[in-house]
C-alpha cells in the first residue's frame, strides 16, 4: 500500500504545486494543464479514522480538512523508494491540526521510527471539472502496452499526438512550428485496436497532450500493474486517464490537450466529474458545491461565485456525486451566447500575451473560463512550450475563478483579468488587452486595474517642445 503511495508521489513530482489531502490527493501542475486526483477508500488503509467523531468545525459545511502540502516536502518523506520498500513496515499518517502539521510516521525494521512533520495550510479544494463517462472515445489497456509504445519517442519529446481511428490507434510525436522540416525527427507508432483491452471509438480523433506527464502516469500504472482507461473526445477537450480497477483507490489524471485550430468553440460544454465510486462516509460530508467554498481572488466576483455556488448546490444531484455540475451541463451550454465571442476576442489578444507559462489556460479549476489558443499562434516563449486548451466551461457569466490567490502567476493574473472582463458583457477588448500587457498583480481591483494601465499608457515622454 505504501508502495503505491510512494510511486504516486514520485510520479507526480514533476508537475507539482499543490497537494490536497483528504484521503484524496489532488495535484495540479504549475501551468495548470495537468491534474491528478486520487481517491483512497478507507479499505486502502489498514486503519482509517477521519476523526469525524471529534470534529468540531466552525463552518457547518466544513467537514473534513482540506489542506495543501508542498509536494517537495511530501517527496522528502518518500525520497528513497528502494529503502522504503526494504525497511518500512508500516506508515501512519496523522493530521496534527493544532500545530498545522501533517505527520508521517514510518515504522521501519530494527525498531526505527522516522517521523516527518510536514507543514500544511488549509485551502480550498482544487477541483477539475471533467467527465470521464461522457466521452465518446475510450481505450483501456495495460500500461505495459503504452509504455512500450512511448518508449519509442525521444526522451526530450514534449508532446505526443494520439490519433484514434476505427482501424488503428496511432501515436505520433508532436512538432511545434519547426521552420525546417529537415531538422525534425518524426516518430509514428500504430497500434491495432485489438491490442487494447477495450476500444470504443465514437469519433475519429486527433489529440495532442503532454508526453512527459503521460510517461509519469504510465510509470505509476506499471508499478501497480493495473489497467488504465483513457477517456477522450476531441482536440481541445481534456483527456482523462483513470485507474479504477482496484477497489481500494481510484486515480484520475486529467491532461489538457491542444486545441484544434479549426475549432474555436471548445468550451461550450461543461462536464461533470464522476469520481465517487466508493461510498465513503466522508463523501457525504463533502458533497456540497465547491463553488460555495471557492473563494474568488477578486472580491468583486466573490459574491457572484457564491451566488453561483448556491445555484449549483440546489441542483446537486444524488449523493453519489460530489462537487459536480452534471445538471448544470445543459444550462451551461445554453447559457452564454456571448461566451464564444468573448473567447474569440481574447483569442486575438492572446498572441501578444507575455506569458511565462505556456499553459495559459486553466483546465483544472472550477468555474473558470477557458481560453482557447490556436495552435498556430506563435507563443512568445520557446517553441517547446505549447498552447493548450481548456477544459472548463463557462458556467455562467457570474461564475468565477477558484484558484487561491497565491497561485497566480503572470499569466493567471492576466487570465483573471480576462475572466473578469467576461463577467461584464460587452467589455471592450482593448481594455483587456491593455491589462494583459501590463500584467497587474492586483487583479482584484478589476476596475482600477483597468484604469491604471490607461494611466500608465498616458504617461509618455514629455513633449520636448514644451517650454520649461
Amino acid at each position: 500500500m505504501l508502495e503505491i503511495k510512494d510511486k504516486q508521489h514520485q510520479k507526480l513530482s514533476r508537475c507539482i504545486m499543490y497537494l490536497l489531502f483528504q484521503f484524496a490527493l489532488r495535484t495540479v501542475n504549475s501551468t495548470r494543464s495537468a491534474y491528478a486526483y486520487m481517491l483512497f477508500s478507507p479499505s486502502f488503509f489498514t486503519h482509517y479514522d477521519d476523526g469525524s467523531a471529534l470534529l468540531k468545525s466552525n463552518d457547518s459545511e466544513d467537514e473534513g480538512l482540506r489542506c495543501k502540502v508542498n509536494m517537495k516536502s511530501m517527496l522528502t518523506v518518500f525520497k528513497s523508494l528502494s529503502s522504503i520498500e526494504r525497511s518500512v513496515e508500516r506508515c501512519k499518517i496523522t493530521l496534527n491540526t493544532p500545530e498545522a502539521r501533517l505527520v508521517f510516521q514510518l515504522y521501519c525494521r530494527h525498531g526505527i521510527v522516522k517521523t516527518h512533520n510536514l507543514a500544511f495550510i488549509e485551502c480550498e479544494t482544487l477541483q477539475a471539472v471533467f467527465s470521464k463517462d461522457l466521452t465518446p472515445n475510450r481505450l483501456t489497456a495495460h500500461p505495459k502496452l503504452l509504455c512500450d509504445a512511448v518508449i519509442n519517442f525521444q526522451n526530450n519529446q514534449e508532446e505526443v499526438t494520439l490519433i484514434a481511428k476505427p482501424d488503428k490507434i496511432s501515436l505520433k510525436n508532436y512538432v511545434d512550428d519547426e521552420p525546417d522540416p529537415k531538422k525534425v525527427v518524426l516518430t509514428e507508432m500504430h497500434l491495432d485496436p485489438n491490442e487494447f483491452d477495450n476500444c470504443q471509438l465514437g469519433v475519429d480523433t486527433e489529440i495532442t497532450f503532454c508526453l512527459k506527464e503521460l510517461r509519469a502516469i504510465l510509470g505509476f500504472a506499471e508499478v501497480i500493474s493495473l489497467p488504465i482507461n483513457m477517456h477522450f473526445e476531441r482536440a481541445g477537450r481534456p483527456i482523462v486517464i483513470s485507474i479504477d480497477s482496484d477497489k481500494t483507490f481510484e486515480a484520475n489524471f486529467v491532461l489538457a490537450t491542444l486545441a484544434d485550430c479549426e475549432n474555436q468553440t471548445t468550451h461550450t460544454q461543461s462536464v461533470s466529474q464522476n469520481t465517487s465510486k466508493h461510498r465513503m462516509k466522508s463523501q457525504s460530508k463533502q458533497k456540497r458545491s465547491n463553488n460555495s467554498r471557492v473563494k474568488s481572488t477578486a472580491p468583486s466576483t466573490s459574491d457572484r461565485s457564491n451566488g453561483f455556488g448556491n445555484n449549483t448546490k440546489n441542483k446537486r444531484p444524488a449523493p453519489s456525486f460530489d462537487e459536480e455540475f452534471e445538471d448544470d451541463f445543459d444550462e451551461m451550454i445554453c447559457n452564454d451566447p456571448t461566451v464564444d465571442q468573448l473567447s474569440r476576442v481574447e483569442h486575438q489578444n492572446i498572441p501578444n500575451k507575455n506569458t511565462t507559462a505556456s499553459r495559459s489556460t486553466h483546465p483544472v479549476t472550477v468555474p473558470n473560463i477557458s481560453h482557447t489558443r490556436q495552435s498556430n499562434t506563435p507563443p512568445l516563449q520557446s517553441s517547446s512550450e505549447r498552447a493548450d486548451s481548456p477544459v472548463i466551461p463557462m458556467q455562467c457569466e457570474t461564475a468565477k475563478i477558484s484558484f487561491p490567490a497565491e497561485t497566480l502567476n503572470q499569466s493567471e493574473m492576466q487570465d483573471l483579468d480576462e475572466d473578469l472582463d467576461d463577467t461584464i458583457p460587452g467589455t471592450p477588448p482593448s481594455k483587456k488587452f491593455r491589462s494583459m500587457i501590463f500584467g497587474l498583480s492586483q487583479s482584484q481591483d478589476s476596475q482600477q486595474s483597468k484604469n491604471k494601465p490607461l494611466q500608465n499608457v498616458q504617461v509618455l515622454a514629455e513633449d520636448t517642445d514644451e517650454d520649461d
Binding site: 517537495k72 516536502s73 522528502t76 525498531g111
Partner: protein, 282 residues
C-alpha cells in the same frame, strides 16, 4: 639481489618508508575523511594518522596502523607534515578506482624529512608510477580534549541503519539535533528544514544497537554541513560509536574493514552549535 640492496640503501635516506600491497587500503580510508583539500599527516611507529579539519569545529582523523603495512620503518618518534589530500588521493588511485579482484596496485611511500616531498611509487601489473608531492608546513591541529572520562552518553551500533538516515538528511535544515537519553526516545536525530521537521528514533532495544550506555538526557545541535562529510565514512564502516561529553562535543568513531578484513578506524569530532544554548565555556 643487487636491486634490493640498492633499494635498501636508497631507502635508508628516508625518515619514513611504508610499503603496502594494496594501495586501496589507504586510499579508501583517506577518502572517508576527504572533505577538505589539505590534511596533516602524523607518522609514528604506531602507524599513520591523517587529520582533516574544517571551520575549527570539526575534525576527522584516519588511523592506519602499522600492522596494515607489510613494511613500515620510521626513524623518528613523530613526523608531521601537511599535504594536499586531493592530490595524494589522485596519485593513490592513479590506476583507477575499480576494484577488480586480484589486481591491486602496490604502494611504497617515502618521506625524506622536513621540506622534502612525499614520494609515492605505485605499481600495478608491471606498470610503475612515480609521484612526488610537495609537503607543506603543518598547522596546529585542534585538540578537542575529548577524554573518555567525560563521556556522558555512548552508543555503539551497526552502521547499516544509520547510513540511510544520514544520507537522507534534510539538507535544508541548518542543524542536526541529536538526542541521547536513558529514557525514550533513547536516540533521536532531528532536522528542521523548509518542509517541516523530521525525526528518526532509534530504540535501545533495537537489534542494531550493540551497546547503549546513556546516563543523562542530552540534546545537542550540530551544524549539518559539518556532519555531512561523515556520511562517507559511515558508508564504508560496519560499526559506529557515538559519544557525547559534558560539553556537548560529539565524537563519532567508525570501524572500517578493508578488503583484507583488516580493521581501521576513522573518527570525527564536532563541536556543538551554541547559537541558542548557553553552554558553559570550556
Amino acid at each position: 639481489m643487487s636491486l634490493s640492496t640498492q633499494q635498501a640503501d636508497n631507502d635508508s635516506q628516508y625518515l619514513m618508508v611504508a610499503k603496502l600491497d594494496n594501495a586501496r587500503h589507504v586510499s579508501t580510508i583517506l577518502k572517508a575523511i576527504h572533505f577538505k583539500d589539505t590534511a596533516t599527516i602524523f607518522a609514528s611507529p604506531m602507524g599513520l594518522k591523517v587529520t582533516t579539519e574544517d571551520a575549527k569545529c570539526v575534525q576527522a582523523n584516519a588511523f592506519i596502523q602499522e600492522a596494515i603495512f607489510h613494511e613500515f620503518t620510521i626513524k623518528e618518534e613523530q613526523i608531521i607534515f601537511k599535504i594536499n589530500l586531493t592530490v595524494l588521493l589522485e596519485c593513490l588511485t592513479i590506476f583507477g578506482n575499480s576494484s577488480v579482484p586480484g589486481v591491486t596496485a602496490s604502494l611504497k611511500m617515502c618521506y625524506a624529512g622536513y621540506g622534502q616531498p612525499l614520494l609515492l611509487i605505485l605499481e600495478e601489473d608491471s606498470v610503475v608510477t612515480d609521484c612526488s608531492i610537495k609537503t607543506l608546513e603543518p598547522d596546529e591541529v585542534l585538540d578537542f580534549d575529548f577524554c573518555s572520562t567525560n563521556v556522558i552518553n555512548k552508543i555503539i551500533m551497526k552502521s547499516e541503519c544509520l547510513k540511510e538516515v544520514f544520507s537522507e538528511l534534510d539538507m535544508t535544515s541548518e542543524i542536526l539535533q541529536i538526542l541521547m537519553s536513558p529514557d525514550a526516545p533513547y536516540f533521536q536525530l532531528s532536522t528542521f528544514g523548509n518542509s517541516g521537521s523530521t525525526q528518526s528514533d532509534f530504540s535501545k532495544e533495537s537489534d542494531m544497537v550493540e551497546s547503549f550506555q546513556c546516563t543523562k538526557t542530552q540534546t545537542n545541535r550540530y551544524k549539518i554541513s559539518l556532519l555531512k562529510p561523515t556520511v562517507k565514512a559511515l558508508g564504508l564502516s560496519t560499526r559506529i560509536s557515538i559519544r557525547t561529553d559534558n560539553r556537548g562535543f560529539l565524537s563519532l568513531q567508525y570501524m572500517i574493514k578493508n578488503e583484507d578484513n583488516q580493521v581501521c578506524f576513522v573518527e570525527f569530532y564536532c563541536a556543538p552549535d551554541e547559537e541558542l544554548d548557553d553552554e558553559p565555556g570550556h
